[in-house]
């Protein structure tokens, strides 16, 4: 069974046809990257897949059944989104952000284990538990945004531009973390403007341009493709 089957997805913002008939699949356990320039429609795909942005056409199957229409039902089916710019609950403490991540969980023991797992991935969060999340540094905010998503114990994790605004050394650590999360059995769909880094770690990649896929293939292969390097990877 695929984690995600997207068939001819269309999304409009008013008269603007932002996503124009995109089709792709993500197998369970896979790490798939969608890369493209600013405004190509990457984030729009993410919002549509999480039920926030209404689709104007196409069918989406999440773990073999149709995607629910409201975000909280989508989350209940095992999807979690780390949105662009992180969008933490900035007035809430680090701890409260994690509590919100686990909002739908009833198992206290499992929730506690997942918290420990997040602290293993990002030890700094443990020292910041009572701090207001809006006062964290950019890197720490990204760690918290990922942890908040992991606290729902998702089967499919959507990451939208996680490297945005991070120093290069933090981007390295981030890519390692994404691989580690995948190795623990979570399916990952990664959207990045930082195409080279995303394609290096992805099993498969898709190049999105003006709302359509223009190329797809194994991640590292796309990263080496001279034509793609010229057009999207800055040489």
């Amino acid at each position: 069974m695929n984690a995600l089957d997207v068939e001819n997805l269309n999304v409009h913002y008013g008269a603007v046809h932002a996503v124009q008939g995109v089709s792709f699949a993500v197998a369970e356990g896979e790490l798939v990257a969608i890369v493209g320039s600013n405004g190509a429609g990457k984030s729009t795909i993410m919002w549509a897949l999480s039920g926030v942005k209404e689709r104007s056409g196409g069918a989406v199957q999440l773990f073999g059944s149709p995607l629910p229409s409201r975000p909280h039902d989508v989350v209940a089916r095992g999807l979690a989104l780390v949105p662009e710019r992180r969008r933490l609950f900035s007035d809430l403490s680090v701890e409260e952000n994690l509590v919100m991540g686990a909002y739908l969980r009833g198992d206290d023991e499992g929730t506690r284990q997942d918290r420990e797992r997040c602290f293993q991935l990002f030890p700094v969060l443990k020292q910041r538990l009572s701090q207001r999340s809006g006062t964290l540094s950019g890197g720490e905010q990204q760690m918290l945004a990922i942890s908040r998503a992991l606290m729902s114990r998702p089967r499919l994790l959507l990451l939208d531009e996680p490297s945005l605004g991070l120093a290069p050394i933090l981007v390295d650590a981030l890519m390692d973390t994404i691989l580690r999360i995948r190795s623990e059995g979570v399916t990952v769909l990664l959207v990045e403007q930082n195409a080279a880094r995303a394609l290096e770690i992805a099993d498969r990649g898709y190049i999105l341009d003006a709302g359509r896929f223009v190329k797809s293939g194994p991640g590292p292969e796309l990263a080496e493709d001279p034509e793609i390097r010229r057009a999207y990877l800055g040489g």
Binding site: V52, H72, V75, A76, P83, S90, D91, M100
Partner: protein, 290 residues
């Protein structure tokens, strides 16, 4: 005299705080001024009045019934008049206009069915006084003040500690992300209106006991608006502090200056805060939501 005036001021202030809390809660979550809040307070007072006069219930049960009644009315108000606008992501001006319409509708519904008569609550302990440091103060005033404090403190704990309370604050911070944590926003907003309505019910009963019950009694919520602005819109401690400050200032002005000038002072205070400190005493103004 001084202590009596202070207690009277605090008790009125406590009622203003109760109203401001409900008003502030809705404002912080949905970002619009719920002008129907006054009408819910008025209906809460009528529910309490009916329980007290028709069923001869005691004050405790009257309060409980009014909390439940006004709470349910507030939730229905949201479902019928705001939810469809909210789902279409209408600008908050539309919600405000809808709220004004509700307010006019509800008042006139009371005129048409119950009538324009002024009703008084039966005397629970209206005239009883207790002596405090040599002054005699009204038991009702003291009780209303203490009860208001306890209710707001309880709400503060609820919002700070419980899962639903944290979800409300998360919604204030970012509604969309709140729904992406698995929170059913329709249900969360129903809880917010239930709480706001409950507080309106308590305020309605206290107002009705202190003064009278009549269709336009809810207009006093413009004082709650002033209190909320003084304290900082959206802040619970702010609503409490703003209500108490306003109540005390008003009572002292009526007693020592002139009761005619009371509202002049209140609205001057509102304008002064809007001009010089629009974020209020406890608000965190100027912080951008990206």
């Amino acid at each position: 005299m001084f202590l009596q005036t202070l207690i009277t001021g605090l008790s009125i202030g406590g009622i203003y705080s109760l109203m401001a809390v409900g008003y502030s809660l809705v404002f912080s979550v949905l970002n619009f001024s719920n002008f129907a809040h006054g009408a819910v307070i008025m209906l809460g007072a009528y529910v309490g009045l009916a329980l007290a006069t028709k069923l001869n219930l005691g004050l405790g049960l009257v309060l409980a019934g009014s909390v439940a009644g006004a709470g349910i009315i507030a939730v229905l108000n949201e479902r019928l008049a705001y939810s469809s606008l909210r789902r279409r992501k209408a600008p908050s001006l539309y919600l405000m206009i809808s709220a004004m319409g509700c307010s006019v509708f509800l008042e006139n519904m009371v005129y048409a069915t119950i009538g324009s008569r002024f009703y008084a609550f039966p005397e629970f302990f209206g005239r009883q006084v207790i002596s405090l440091w040599g002054s005699s103060v009204s038991l009702l005033d003291t009780g209303a003040f203490v009860f208001s404090l306890l209710a707001i403190w309880g709400l503060h704990l609820f919002v700070g500690r419980t899962r639903t309370g944290i979800a409300i604050r998360a919604g204030v911070s970012d509604m969309t992300m709140c729904s992406l944590m698995g929170v059913d926003l329709d249900r969360l907003i129903a809880v917010v209106f239930l709480l706001a309505g409950g507080f309106a019910g308590v305020a309605g009963v206290f107002l009705g006991i202190k003064y009278l019950v009549y269709p336009t009694m809810g207009w006093v919520t413009n004082k709650a608006y002033i209190a909320a602005v003084i304290g900082g819109l959206g802040s619970l401690p702010g609503a409490l502090a703003g209500g108490l400050i306003l109540g005390v200032v008003e009572t002292f002005v009526s007693t020592y200056v002139s009761s005619v000038l009371r509202d002049v002072f209140s609205f001057t205070l509102l304008v002064a805060f809007l001009v010089m400190r629009p974020e209020g005493l406890f608000g965190r103004g100027g912080e951008e939501k990206v």
